[in-house]
């Protein structure tokens, strides 16, 4: 097998003159299609976000209750499922076909998967739009949506599963065609992690959504409410773990692209991904800590990813990614003091600034809050409060979405072959979007600490004889959530304007000559440093200092919450 093309799938390869990356024609079209579909759903989800934000802002309280719950249901699903998974399929194809310089396996199956995902996403959106499926993303039984709601999700999941298998098949193609030697790149290893988690996620989704579809059709009589919750979260939470593996892979990729940085240690970074494969999915228990019927030991073991091994993995990535960047910067001579390497980073390049804002926000805001609320007892002070969406906007918006945005800025010239329109605006976008989201999640978690409920139309409880009066601070926080939310939506709109605008009106760039043959990745010569075995020194003192700041914040916040818990009613 040489030449990389077969009789059934004639294809061609081009080498991008700007990045040196080699794109296969089928993979390129599929990446483009999936990325465009992703951005369309981000746009829909973003428009819906206006409705959610302006309704939860108490002074505005814009939408009626029924519209609000409808909009909130669609916002959650469009953002958490459709935007992110479409983009992730593009990332999987990039990490296999492009990084391994091989053809994409079974492109026709990949198109079938894409078609199913589009049909599923549209079907689900139409079901919500018709008004009788305002069941939130979680759709807890016995509350039921119309059959089309579940059918749409199932079709989408089947399509995404096909995408996962195309990715795995592409790894086989690369191996067989010997397009690389040795092990796959670290970023591809991260994508494999995401793919394995995705297969687990989709299987869990199928196990619970298929019976729920049958229930909504009236073909079966009952789905147990607690069984539903337990299995649904193996789908609902794990789908967000795909994101973690995917966006951390992107961080590694961007640090490699922007700085030419090498991973500090392949062993450590891959080991951390392996911990994700083994332990990350246990975290679906986070949503079940306040539930009846599940034993304490089940809760403790699962919520802690079996002794916090996945937290350990995230703390490792959080060190090794900026650490690799520091080592690369110091090698370039930015050696003054602890932080010259960071000051001299390319802050005006949105690919870098987006990833760095994402990394810091994901760790400090998303990571710390996630571990706090995932602590079995501490969960009682935040369960179902607006602290929860505060947390996951830090992980999924600041972590995943902002990383995807940053990667898009890299892909516009490389994959889309267009010059970016308005680069000045693109420079500002990660700051506007990222920093307003920082503020957004902080005030949201503040309101949640005061007890304000999530998924709640009216914090004044209008129409209730026993209405509760939230403290003034809670109203203030929710007002600030509204303001910060609008600023973040503006940041999101700028991203869509730049991306879609560049695709439509950006100057066409040279694609690089197409060839029917692929060029395998040439083996790299091992460096002297890497061949010497043993301790390499203390290469990233600045990063280590930042890590200690992080740990201090983590420990303080963690114990402050235990202190708060200890003042509550006795519960046993």
């Amino acid at each position: 097998m040489s030449g990389g093309s077969t009789m059934t799938n004639p294809t061609s390869y081009r080498t991008c003159p700007r990045s040196g990356l080699q794109f296969e024609a089928n993979a390129e079209k599929l990446m483009l299609a999936n990325a465009v579909a992703a951005v369309v759903f981000l746009l829909i989800g973003g428009i819906l976000a206006i409705g959610v934000t302006l309704t939860r802002w108490p002074a505005v309280h814009w939408l009626e209750a029924d519209t609000f719950y409808q909009v909130l249901t669609a916002h959650g699903i469009d953002m958490l499922i459709f935007w992110i998974i479409f983009f992730e399929i593009a990332v999987l194809y990039f990490c296999s076909s492009t990084l391994l310089r091989c053809r994409l396996a079974t492109p026709n199956m990949a198109w079938l998967g894409f078609a199913l995902m589009v049909i599923g996403a549209v079907t689900n959106n139409l079901a919500v739009l018709q008004g009788s499926s305002s069941v939130m993303m979680t759709s807890y039984v016995p509350m039921l949506a119309t059959p089309a709601f579940y059918l749409g999700l199932i079709l989408f999941a089947v399509g995404a599963l096909i995408g996962c298998f195309v990715f795995l098949g592409t790894l086989v193609v690369a191996k067989r065609d010997k397009t690389y030697t040795g092990s796959v790149p670290l970023v591809t290893f991260g994508a494999i992690t995401a793919c394995i988690i995705a297969v687990f996620t989709i299987a869990s989704g199928a196990i619970i959504l298929i019976p729920t579809l049958l229930l909504s059709l009236g073909w079966i009589a009952q789905v147990d409410a607690l069984v539903y919750r337990t299995i649904w979260w193996a789908f609902g939470h794990s789908s967000q773990q795909i994101n973690v593996a995917a966006h951390i892979s992107i961080w590694y990729a961007v640090v490699a692209i922007a700085f030419g940085a090498k991973p500090m240690s392949e062993r450590v970074s891959r080991g951390a991904f392996l911990l994700y494969i083994l332990f990350l999915q246990l975290a679906s228990a986070h949503h079940l800590l306040a539930d009846p019927g599940l034993s304490t030991s089940w809760k403790v073991v699962n919520t802690s990813y079996f002794m916090y091994f996945a937290v350990l993995a995230s703390m490792i990535h959080g060190l090794t990614i900026p650490g690799a960047m520091e080592v690369a910067q110091r090698a370039k001579g930015y050696n003054k003091g602890l932080f010259e390497w960071l000051r001299k980073a390319p802050w005006g390049n949105p690919v870098f600034s987006g990833v760095f804002i994402s990394l810091i926000g994901f760790g400090f805001l998303g990571g710390i809050s996630g571990v706090m609320m995932g602590t079995e007892q501490l969960n009682m002070i935040i369960h179902n409060t607006i602290y929860v969406p505060g947390h996951f906007h830090a992980t999924v918006v600041i972590g995943t979405t902002l990383s995807f945005m940053a990667l898009t800025y890299f892909l516009i010239p490389v994959l889309f072959k267009r010059e970016m329109i308005n680069p000045k605006l693109a420079q500002a976008q990660p700051y506007l979007f990222g920093l307003s989201m920082y503020f957004f999640v902080l005030v949201m978690m503040g309101a949640g600490t005061l007890g304000v409920s999530r998924r709640h139309w009216d914090m004044a409880f209008n129409g209730s004889a026993l209405a509760y009066q939230w403290p003034g601070a809670a109203y203030l926080m929710m007002g600030l959530v509204g303001i910060a939310g609008l600023a973040a939506i503006a940041g999101g709109a700028i991203y869509i304007y730049i991306t879609v605008g560049s695709l439509l009106w950006g100057k066409r760039l040279e694609a690089g000559a197409a060839s029917p043959k692929y060029t395998p990745i040439p083996p790299t010569a091992p460096t002297v440093v890497a061949q010497s075995y043993g301790s390499a020194g203390f290469a990233a003192p600045g990063t280590f200092t930042l890590a200690m700041v992080f740990l201090t914040a983590f420990i303080l916040y963690y114990f402050i919450n235990w202190k708060y818990l200890s003042t509550l009613w006795g519960l046993s």
Binding site: V268, P523, S535, W562
Partner: protein
């Protein structure tokens, strides 16, 4: 660009470990163990642990028990709907019904006395969010969750439903007094 290239060393798992990484992994691992044993330890020494005592139930069975308690211990009624205010003795089994869209009845407990609070839902999932104490427990239909509570502060509390349960979710608020 080596994170996007195959590792240069075929035996990358023998790649040297920098001291920054080694030290951080050790510190992070210790912190992970501290957090794990904090949760376990709180079950031994802490006073706020959520009970997992649970029974399967039906709306009929649970309503009957709640009604029996109301018949025995009602002290007055409140609001236009004449919601009974129930003051069971210390140590008693106390039943709270969550349903579309209210909590029933109103409970009146004594400070520093212990009660067995039984929670269930008659229909959808609901949330027991006790404010301003900020204690939040999930209520799942078909399951009777028995939580032992010891109020430590007198006052008027609200029970806010914080699990989305349909169009009038925002009106679902109950009350609980501690004397």
């Amino acid at each position: 660009m080596s994170a996007i290239l195959p590792p240069a060393e075929r035996l990358w798992w023998k790649h040297p470990l920098d001291r920054v990484e080694g030290t951080w992994i050790a510190i992070a691992f210790i912190w992970c163990l501290v957090m794990f044993f904090m949760m376990v330890g709180w079950h031994v020494y802490g006073k706020q642990n959520l009970s997992t005592e649970t029974y399967r139930t039906t709306p009929e069975k649970f309503s009957a028990k709640a009604q029996a308690m109301v018949d025995k211990y009602t002290v007055r009624t409140e609001t236009a709907d004449k919601v009974p205010v129930v003051a069971p003795p210390a140590g008693a089994d106390v039943y709270l019904i969550a349903r579309l869209w209210n909590f029933w009845p109103i409970l009146e407990l004594e400070k520093d006395k212990t009660y067995k609070l039984h929670l269930t839902s008659m229909d959808y999932n609901h949330g027991f969010s006790l404010q301003p104490a900020n204690i939040n427990i999930q209520i799942v239909p078909g399951y009777e969750h028995v939580v032992t509570v010891t109020p430590n502060q007198a006052g008027t509390y609200s029970v806010v439903c914080n699990e989305y349960c349909g169009i009038n979710h925002h009106t679902m608020v109950g009350r609980l007094y501690v004397k």
